[in-house]
């Protein structure tokens, strides 16, 4: 939990266009984190975050005026220390991958429990990546089709180990359990997930957009 990871409590801003939902998340998080601000729209969010930069922004993927992606894009350059955790009901892989590629360090679904959410926030605050089973599935799907870019094949493919870690996440294992099963340390698991996140953000835009295009043409997930 957050307390054992960090002395000071994590400062969080919640951005979601549904008041009811913001209130719900706030209540679920309870005393585990320090909710320093809330916002119901993109402009609102920019103002709140700039006024008092938090450690983590809990960000809804779907909002009017560009959604979470827009908020990340505007804040990323200005305040590099602010980290983003996407929170969504969306099942559309494109949206989720888009927000990750914009710079979010993780994605969790809105059905997550309060304790799990607080844990995810703490992880993100420390600079780790948080992959829900669903996100792991999306990422495996995204990289399954990617034909390596001749210029930088390393970046466009997952290593067997990274794939193995992702598959365990998709199967519902926690980092600690994955570490045990693969006989590596939790830190190594975190490093693998971080590497996947980086690849997701940096790999050739062309290849991943081809993937997204294919999906959209034929079927949404």
């Amino acid at each position: 939990m957050s307390d054992e990871r960090e002395g000071a409590r994590v400062r969080v801003v919640i951005v979601d266009d549904h008041d009811l939902f913001r209130a719900g998340v706030r209540a679920e998080l309870g005393g585990r984190v320090d909710v320093v601000g809330q916002a119901g729209g993109v402009a609102d969010a920019l103002e709140t975050i700039r006024a008092s930069p938090p450690d983590v922004v809990l960000l809804d993927v779907h909002m009017p005026d560009g959604g979470g992606v827009e908020v990340i894009r505007r804040i990323c350059g200005e305040l590099p220390d602010v980290r983003f955790l996407a929170l969504s009901v969306s099942d559309a892989a494109e949206d989720v991958i888009a927000v990750i590629r914009a710079g979010a360090r993780g994605y969790v679904t809105k059905s997550i429990s309060g304790a799990e959410l607080a844990d995810a926030v703490a992880r993100v605050a420390e600079g780790d990546a948080v992959f829900s089973p669903r996100l792991a599935g999306f990422v495996l799907d995204a990289f399954a089709d990617v034909v390596p870019d001749a210029a930088d094949p390393e970046l466009d493919q997952l290593t067997p180990r990274e794939r193995e870690v992702l598959r365990h996440i998709a199967r519902g294992y926690m980092y600690k359990e994955i570490a045990q099963r693969l006989e590596i340390s939790v830190k190594t698991v975190e490093a693998h997930v971080g590497a996947v996140l980086r690849k997701l953000q940096l790999s050739s835009r062309h290849e991943l957009s081809r993937w997204a295009l294919q999906r959209r043409l034929v079927s949404l997930d």
């Binding site: 799907d141 399954a144 998709a170 519902g172 294919q214 034929v218 949404l220 997930d221």
Partner: protein
């Protein structure tokens, strides 16, 4: 996911049939020139009494052509079908028309282009190739022209050839209009190409070729009539008048076009809104009503909410899923939903890739369903995770819970059957299953099936047909 295109194809075909069925009723513009055709035919054959009968039939039976029955394009067969007279009579009437000025060729060619192919003739292979049609046309045209000239009935080459050229040009210009209404447009191109010879294969868009032909024919006509010298004056007069009219009517026309497109957009929006409203009414509103009624039973309410949520998600994000048949993904989703509903334990579903179902994959889905049921019934966990990865050569599925667990070495007798239906079933289909569990540590069932090589080819999918 790409694989889903395969089952999608039939739906596209269905759409085409739908368009074909509705085309005769809605296609007013192309229908008009088509309907103009039989009139000279009836008047030429002198059978005025047939006309009312023809009208009565056309109420439910439009004029079509039957390429499989006709000598050339099946227009004669179509007219005879429409009027209820023997096809020979129609052909004789047409021959008379040809003799009466050569314009019959143009009329026939027009009808060929513009009449829709009868559905029953659709797809029937004609023995003749397109080039033979072209040869027949050219021979008939030459014979008719020669006959006319001998008979002294002809107006002269200087008039006939421009008229023929203009007709071909008009066909080219009008064709897209007719094609947009008829699904058999592609089918009509080969004879047209043959008619045009090489110009049909140029990269120039058809309308441009058509306009050029018509312009050339007009110039030739004007030249023949000896008015080409005055053309300059006439053209400038026409240009001045056209400019005036354009200036006068321009703004009004623009406004009209704009309001029409606005109206269209509004209508489309209204239609979409009605669709969404209908769906919400059938699903969400109904569920809300049910929830109000069952408010006393939290378990049932949770089940209702969960089911509605799943359905709404599918509607929002997975619209294509419902159209196509059984993919592994769809079946696993259905199995998970059923288990959720039966046992009230949520199933977290993550699926990578997809494939059409065969018997082996069917077995895997069944085993997964069994494992889910087991977990939901005995584990006492808050939720069950199902992860499936459908690769080109093998399919794996993992069913995991964080429940009470058990010692696999000491499986109680009452679970034997269940165990058989998971392990045994997969082994029968050349796969294997493994159960990992320990008391207090939850359970994971691993299911693996190798895929036949035959399916590999389907993994790569050509791009979606142009839309």
């Amino acid at each position: 996911m790409r694989l889903r295109v395969i089952p999608d194809r039939p739906s596209a075909v269905r759409c085409d049939h739908g368009a074909m069925a509705s085309a005769p009723q809605t296609a007013v513009a192309p229908g008009q020139p088509a309907e103009g055709e039989p009139d000279p035919a009836t008047s030429a054959s002198g059978s005025g009494a047939d006309a009312p009968q023809g009208d009565a039939r056309s109420a439910h039976h439009r004029l079509q052509r039957y390429p499989d029955r006709g000598l050339l394009g099946g227009v004669g067969a179509g007219v005879s079908e429409q009027l209820g007279v023997p096809v020979q009579l129609v052909r004789f009437a047409m021959a008379l028309m040809l003799a009466a000025g050569g314009i019959g060729i143009a009329l026939y060619a027009l009808a060929w282009r513009l009449l829709p192919v009868a559905p029953e003739s659709e797809g029937v292979e004609r023995p003749r190739g397109a080039w033979r049609e072209a040869v027949v046309i050219v021979i008939v045209a030459l014979a008719v022209l020669y006959g006319l000239r001998r008979a002294g009935l002809l107006l002269g080459d200087s008039l006939i050839w421009p008229l023929v050229l203009a007709t071909v040009g008009l066909i080219l210009v009008w064709r897209p209009v007719a094609a947009s209404a008829g699904p058999d447009a592609a089918r009509r191109i080969p004879p047209l190409r043959a008619l045009l010879g090489s110009s049909g294969r140029t990269e120039l868009p058809r309308p441009v070729v058509g306009v050029m032909l018509v312009a050339f024919a007009s110039a030739a006509l004007l030249h023949a009539l000896g008015v080409l010298g005055n053309l300059g004056k006439a053209l400038s007069a026409v240009a001045i008048v056209a400019t005036m009219v354009g200036l006068l009517l321009g703004p009004w026309l623009v406004r009209l076009a704009r309001s029409l497109s606005f109206e269209r957009a509004a209508r489309i929006r209204e239609q979409e809104r009605a669709d969404v409203a209908a769906h919400l009414h059938d699903s969400v509103l109904q569920t809300l009503t049910l929830i109000q009624k069952r408010a006393a039973d939290p378990r049932e309410v949770a089940g209702l909410v969960r089911r509605q949520e799943r359905e709404l998600r599918r509607w929002l994000f997975d619209r294509h899923d419902s159209e196509c048949g059984d993919s592994v993904k769809a079946l696993l989703g259905r199995a998970a939903a059923e288990v959720e509903e039966l046992h009230g334990v949520p199933v977290e579903l993550v699926i990578v890739g997809d494939a059409p179902v065969d018997t082996r994959l069917e077995a895997l889905v069944q085993a997964a369903r069994e494992a889910l049921t087991n977990a939901a019934k005995f584990a006492g966990a808050e939720r069950v995770d199902l992860y499936a990865e459908i690769g080109p050569s093998r399919v794996e599925a993992f069913v995991r819970d964080r429940g009470v667990g058990f010692d696999p070495a000491a499986i109680p007798d009452d679970r034997r059957g269940v165990r058989d239906s998971i392990l045994g079933r997969l082994e029968r289909h050349g796969g294997h299953a493994a159960i990992t569990s320990a008391p207090g540590a939850g359970t994971e069932v691993e299911l693996v099936v190798e895929r036949g090589r035959g399916e590999r080819g389907q993994v790569s999918m050509s791009p979606v047909p142009s839309s």
